[in-house]
C-alpha cells in the first residue's frame, strides 16, 4: 500500500486521504505532461533552480571580483568568457549564474509574503460579508487603482533602494488580485452544507476559515501566483534597472542591463545578455503557468 506505484496512485477507490490527494496530483501531472509547451517552461524553471543551487560549481569566476582591469575589461564573448566581460572586467556568465539566486529569492519571497495576505483578506471578506467585506474589498480596490509598477516605485522611494525593500514593495502591490480571487472562491463555498455542519458542531469562525475555507481556495490562488511570477520578475528587473532594486555590485540582472546601457552601442553583450536571461526565465514561468491553468481550470481554456 505504501508503494508509490502507478496503480496505487490511479486507484478508483483510494483507501486513505493521502492516497486520494497524491492520486489527484499524479493525474494533474499526467495531463500537464502532454502539454509540451508547459514542459518546456517547467524545464526552464528546473534549470534555473539547479543553476541557483550549484552556482558555486557552475560559475568559473567570482561574480563580484573582476579580473585585470587593464586587459580583461569589456572583452567580447569567447571560450574563456562565454558571455564576455563587463566594464569591471568581471565574467558576465558567472554574474548571470549568481544572479539566478537573486531572481529566485525575489520570486519566492514575494510569493511567500503576498499569498498569505491575499488569502487572509479574501477569505475573511468573503466569509463574514457585510461591512467587513465592504471595508476589506474597498481597500483592495484602492491598491488595484494604482498601476503596479508605479505603486512599487513609490514604496521603494519611501523605504529606500535595496533588494529587501524592492521585495516588500512588490509584495505589497501583488496581494490584491489574490484577495479578490480568494473572496470569490469563499463566496461559492461559504453556504455549503459541510461548512454549515462544521458551524453547527460549534467550530469557531477562525477554525472554519483556516481549516475548511482556505484549503479550498489554495489551488486557484496558487495557479494565479504562478501566472504572476513572470510579472514579479519583470517588476523586480525594472526596479533594478532604475537603480532602486538590488544595489551594485550585486549581480542582479536588471541592474546589469542598466550598467551595460552606457556602452550599449560599442559593447552590445554587456546589456543584451542579462536581458536574455530575464526573458528566458519569465517565458518559463509564463509557459508553466498557462499549462497549469489549462489543466486545473478547464473553464478558462478557450
Amino acid at each position: 500500500m505504501s508503494a508509490l506505484s502507478r496503480e496505487w496512485l490511479l486507484s478508483e477507490q483510494p483507501t486513505s486521504r493521502r492516497q486520494a490527494r497524491l492520486g489527484q496530483v499524479y493525474r494533474t501531472w499526467l495531463s500537464l505532461r502532454s502539454n509540451w509547451l508547459a514542459m518546456v517552461g517547467l524545464g526552464i524553471i528546473v534549470v534555473l533552480i539547479l543553476v541557483a543551487l550549484f552556482a558555486d560549481v557552475i560559475a568559473p569566476y567570482d561574480p563580484l571580483a573582476g579580473g585585470d582591469l587593464r586587459t580583461a575589461r569589456l572583452l567580447p564573448p569567447s571560450w574563456e568568457h562565454p558571455f564576455g566581460t563587463d566594464e569591471q572586467a568581471r565574467d558576465i556568465f558567472s554574474r548571470i549564474v549568481y544572479g539566478s539566486r537573486l531572481t529566485l529569492m525575489v520570486v519566492a519571497l514575494v510569493a511567500v509574503i503576498a499569498t498569505p495576505i491575499g488569502l487572509l483578506v479574501g477569505t475573511t471578506a468573503g466569509y463574514f460579508g457585510g461591512w467587513v467585506d465592504t471595508v476589506l474589498m474597498r481597500t483592495t480596490d484602492i491598491f488595484l487603482a494604482f498601476p503596479r509598477l508605479i505603486l512599487a516605485l513609490a514604496f521603494v522611494a519611501a523605504l529606500g533602494p535595496g533588494i529587501e525593500n524592492a521585495i516588500i514593495a512588490i509584495a505589497i502591490t501583488s496581494w490584491p488580485p489574490y484577495a479578490r480571487l480568494a473572496r470569490a472562491e469563499t463566496l461559492t463555498i461559504r453556504d455549503s452544507d459541510f461548512i454549515n455542519a462544521a458551524r453547527l458542531q460549534g467550530a469557531s469562525s477562525l477554525r472554519i476559515l483556516w481549516g475548511h475555507v482556505t484549503p479550498l481556495c489554495l489551488s486557484s490562488v496558487i495557479i494565479r501566483v504562478t501566472l504572476d511570477m513572470a510579472g514579479i520578475i519583470l517588476t523586480a528587473a525594472g526596479l533594478g534597472f532604475l537603480g532602486l532594486g538590488a544595489q551594485p555590485p550585486q549581480p542582479e540582472w536588471g541592474a546589469m542591463i542598466a550598467a551595460g546601457r552606457r556602452f550599449l552601442i560599442d559593447f552590445w553583450w554587456v546589456a543584451t545578455i542579462p536581458g536574455i536571461a530575464i526573458f528566458t526565465v519569465s517565458l518559463g514561468f509564463n509557459l508553466l503557468g498557462d499549462g497549469l491553468r489549462d489543466v486545473l481550470d478547464p473553464k478558462a481554456r478557450k
Partner: protein, 354 residues
Amino acid sequence: MALADTSGEGRASALRSFSVKAAKLILSVAVTFFGLLLVTFLIGRVVPVDPVLAVVGDRASQSTYDKVFIELGLDKPLWEQFLIYLQKMLSGSFGESLLTKKPIAEDIARVFPATLELASVAIIIGTLIGIPAGVLAAVRQGGLADQVVRVLGLVGYSAPIFWLGLIGLLVFYASLGWVAGPGRIDIAYEYSVTRQTGLLLIDTAMQGQWAAFRNVFSHIILPASLLGYFSMAYISRMTRSFMLQELSQEYVVTARVKGVPEWRIIWLHALRNAAVPLITVVALSYANLLEGSVLTETVFAWPGLGQYLTNSLQNADMNAVLGCTLIIGAIFVGLNLFSDLLYSLLDPRVRRGR
C-alpha cells in the same frame, strides 16, 4: 442599439437606470480617490528621511529646526496632518519639487504632453494592428495568424520592456540608422517650433514645418511602436477571445444560412458586437501605457512624466514622487470610470440592467 426601444417610456427608464449606475460609479470612484490620497499620505509618512532635515539641511541650529518642524505641521496629530494634506492636494497644490524648485503641478503640466503624445501614438499602433490580428486569429483558430498572435503575446508578457527598447535602439538607430535616437526632437528644431498644444506632431503639422514634423516622427516611432507592441499583445488576445464568443452565436449561423458573405459576417456583424467590450480593453491598455512609459521614457530619454518620476526617485524628491503617483493613479481611475460608463452607454444589455 438594434433593440426596438422606441417608446419614450422605455428610453426614460433606461436613462434613469443609467444615471443611477453612473451615480454609484462616481461615488465609488470618490471613495477610491480618497484611498489614493490616504495611501500616498501614508507612504510619505514612512519616509526614513527626516522631512525637516530635507528642508533646513543638517547644519541648522535647533531653533531653526523646531521652527520648520512646526511650519511643516509635524507637531500636530496625524489625522490633522492628513486633513491638511487632503486640503492641499484637492486644491491642486502638490508642494514644491526639491529638484527643480518649482511647484510640482507646474512641472507635471509641462512634462505631461510628451507622455500623452507617446501613449496616444502607441495606442493607435496597438489598436490598428491588434484588432485585425485578433480577428484573423479567431477566424482561423490554430492557423498561422493564431500562432503568430500567440507567440507575440508570449514574448510581450515575458520580455522586459526596457531591454527591448535598448535592443531597438541598437538595431534600428545604431546599426540600421532608420530612426532618430533618444530624445523627442533634434536640438536644431528645438526652438523653431512654437508649443501650442505641447503635442509636437500636431504643433509642427499646424505650423507647416514639415522637416521638423519628419524629425519628430522619426524620434517617436520607435518608442511608440515598442509601447504599442505591448498593448497590441493584450488587445489582440482579447479581440480573439471576444470574436470566438461572437462567432459561436446563433445570429452568425442565421446570417450564414441566409447567404451573407463571410467577410460581412466577420467584419460587420461579429466585430460590431465585439466592439463594445473591446472599448474597455483599449481604455485599460491606454491606462497601462502610463506604467510602461516610466521605463520606456528612461530608455529613450523622453522628457515626459515617466522620466520626471524616475529623476525624482533617484534624487529622493518625495513630493514630486507622490505628486506623480497621485496623478497617474487618478488618470488610471478616471480611464476605468470612463470605460465603464461608455460600456454601459453602448451596450443595451448593460444599460437595461440585463
